[in-house]
Assembly symmetry: C2
Homo-oligomer: 475 residues x 2
């Protein structure tokens, strides 16, 4: 694929944008450009030429028509909480923020669906549906700030995927603007639909490279009436990893099945200034059970407790009040920020079949130790999704730079060998794109490039993402 | 899009196919060609030039390379139970049967996944996983003969979609052969995966027009221990349709929520020579509840009974033994065959948000009566998926031909107006393709055509399906 040549945003183009969407929606001041030059991914900075904040799908279509006319790259941006650099304008140009499209258009209690705009904050939406007895289980750690549109773009997962699935499993329809400014719709408030190709499922998880989502149809379920959270300390890494498939094998499907190693807990205790029960345990499982019948959940919790104790658990702590559960969740959600505050780091979002978690963990530790690197691992054990944080700490810059890439390649090669892949829920984006050939053959990448071309023949939408840098781009 | 020009299969090409995949896998005898000229769709017949029955993905790749070289159309075929003509070789050429790839490769009880080939019969698979305490809930009426590969191609639904979802919701990975013979893989035994575009979800439901599926990864769940089936007669069409959203609204999610009008029941009684309780009721709901706790299900059944009685139910019959449930299911599964035996017919697979079912039903009856057509409606009320069977009966041929197309157009226009679409689970295929413009704009169809082109630039894979016939194709 040839490298697209882009133009810079000129004052004339800024004027065109202002005429199209209104001057108050077009930002060129230094603060705005700086704010939109980074997301939550490492410490990367790419300054856009202009930031636009449209309020309607029609305004987005106008922006895309201008971008098409002048060959200007456009990087869509939700709340900027992504961890793979999806919202970084690596080729400059226009950052298109969806924060102006932030309405919950409908919560339909008869059909158990919601219709929302992409700029709605995930937690705001969760609370709105819970207020009417419904449930949207997708629960990314950044839910307090991330947008549903970004969740769709990355196919966000989170801890409840083990029972309920990820973002894609709740999206039944979308409206989106294509790079040429045309508006397409697919699906709706429908559980079944085979009317043409599944554009919804192709666009979900496409990291803003195919289309800009402007309206979202989400399936909802009744809110489970009861929940119990168990915290289970272990004195080895292997025991909890082995307990996970045993729980599933017993026919219990927890709503959450999280794994965390000691370092993650310790770093977070330091970061928050709070203490965690059994913080000295080598690893913990955090297991949530939910449902409508308290007795059933109690019995399931007892069964889970038996299984983890058979697998070497040191204790089983029960959080059965909202306050106790809230404390544990606050701790769990702070892991990412805590690691970030500890050291320069690089996070890999590995995913394997859940019974391969032991092999992955042991392999990661062995690889890291060979390169003299420290790793902190935690993640969603129930779905085999392990976040491997590689910390620089006080390693000299030169050694860090030399060690990091081959260590990551070894970790990803192991992941693939175990039947897994290189991103479970964070996306490939900018920071993982050159590892794609570890997971995908040249034929698979060619097919994905052809799909990209079908949507975006000029390559103006979120360029520099997902596909590995080619030889000529390196020059 | 220009019309593809295809070549006929010559004796030389048959020889090439025999050399590539073995002479016993290449059929040119009259019986084989006749057998593969039709599927379960109406009374349509399109004779292929040759039928190939490969046993491996590599053999399929060889066939596709030969087809590419000679520009021969290839129509993939599962068990031929489809209802939209997806397996009809409308341009002749090669019918590629997947019945030789019929192994259950693995049922992985630790990870709750199965790996299968496309030619496995759905019921054989269901029974194999149930034998080890697991559950694959997708349950098309043709489960006794249809193949999992065909279920994927059409994204088969069935009665349990209301609680568990449709085929796409259980497929986490595939291996497939592209039209040029290259083999691609996507996903695996993974609940989370955002490593590149979601090729799995794009290929599922693409009706064999993008790739030939050769291996399937299916998510499984623990088998619910208990089930109750309720049969609820009503004396109007509106009452049961109104009861459906009320049940969901009460927080109960049945595993099955079927609707059937009197004519469907009567035709089936005649067809099977059996009688149905309350056969004279205007309509029935068939409601299944499942779960692991018998007490919980009993309480849910009582709640459902209250709701349907509040909504005018004439009675609530309980089937709580396997035998009683089996009888009702046998009856329900025979609807399609019974309608077929009654008259020449045309079936439309409408889907609307579930609370629009009343409006759809009333509208269908009104439209049909204006055209003097008889309709028999039944389907999956829980997910708004209504099968509208239009019966010719003794209508003169000329009048039937004149009335049918405009009546269908009106029914589909109503469906779309109600927030629905023109196929819920049968696919567009050959028989609905010219109605696609009712559901999709020219821009949406162009995008789908571009996706098709990305996979199949020569247009050799299952041509004549899904996309409306263009003006030049009509000449």
């Amino acid at each position: 694929m040839a490298v697209a040549t882009f133009n810079r945003v000129t004052p004339k183009i800024v004027e065109r944008l202002c005429n199209a969407v209104g001057g108050d929606c077009v930002l060129v001041d230094d603060d705005s450009l700086t704010l939109h030059a980074s997301d939550e991914t490492e410490d990367l900075v790419f300054r856009p030429d202009v930031v636009v904040v449209p309020k309607t799908a029609e305004a987005i279509a106008d922006i895309m028509r201008i971008a098409t006319e002048y060959r200007i790259p456009v990087t869509p941006r939700g709340a900027g909480t992504g961890l793979s650099g999806g919202a970084l304008p690596v080729h400059g140009g226009i950052v298109l923020s969806t924060k102006g499209l932030n309405r919950i258009l409908e919560i339909d209690r008869e059909n158990l669906f919601a219709v929302v705009e992409p700029g709605v904050i995930t937690q705001v939406f969760q609370e709105a549906v819970e207020a009417v007895g419904l449930f949207y289980p997708v629960d990314p750690a950044s839910r307090g700030s991330c947008f549903l549109g970004g969740n769709l773009a990355e196919c966000a997962g989170g801890p409840r995927a083990v029972k309920y699935g990820v973002t894609k499993d709740f999206v039944t329809g979308i409206e989106a603007v294509l790079p040429d400014g045309s508006l397409v719709r697919h699906g709706g408030k429908l559980l079944k639909n085979v009317t043409g190709y599944n554009l919804t499922q192709l666009i979900v998880g496409s990291e803003g490279t195919l289309a800009i989502i402007t309206k979202i149809y989400l399936r909802l379920i009744p809110l489970p009436k009861h929940r119990i959270l168990l915290l289970v300390p272990f004195n080895s890494l292997e025991e909890p990893a082995r307990a996970v498939p045993a729980i599933m094998h017993a026919g219990v499907v927890p709503s959450v099945l999280e794994f965390m190693e000691r370092d993650a807990v310790e770093i977070t205790e330091r970061h928050l200034g709070k203490s965690f029960p059994h913080a000295d345990a080598v690893a913990h499982l955090m297991i949530e059970l939910d449902g409508n019948d308290e007795g059933v959940i109690q019995r399931e919790a007892e069964r889970v407790a038996e299984i983890v104790l058979e697998h070497g658990a040191a204790d089983v702590l029960v959080a059965d009040t909202d306050a106790k559960m809230g404390e544990l969740w606050a701790m769990r959600r702070a892991f990412g920020a805590a690691v970030k505050s500890e050291s320069i780091y690089k996070e890999e979002d590995t995913v394997v079949p859940r019974n391969q978690l032991v092999a992955l963990l042991i392999g990661v530790k062995e690889i890291a130790s060979r390169y003299g690197l420290r790793t902190v691992c935690y993640g969603h054990a129930g779905d085999g999704n392990l976040h491997v944080n590689i910390l620089k700490m006080d390693m000299p810059e030169e050694r860090w730079k030399t060690a990091l890439d081959p260590a990551i390649r070894e970790i990803f090669a192991l992941t693939v060998k175990l039947g897994g892949l290189i991103s479970g829920e964070h996306g490939i984006g900018y920071v993982q794109k050159n590892y794609m050939p570890i997971a995908s053959t040249e034929q698979e990448l060619s097919l994905m490039r052809a799909i990209k071309h079908a949507f975006d023949p000029l390559g103006i939408l979120n360029p520099g993402k997902l596909f590995p840098t080619t030889e000529d781009q390196k020059l």
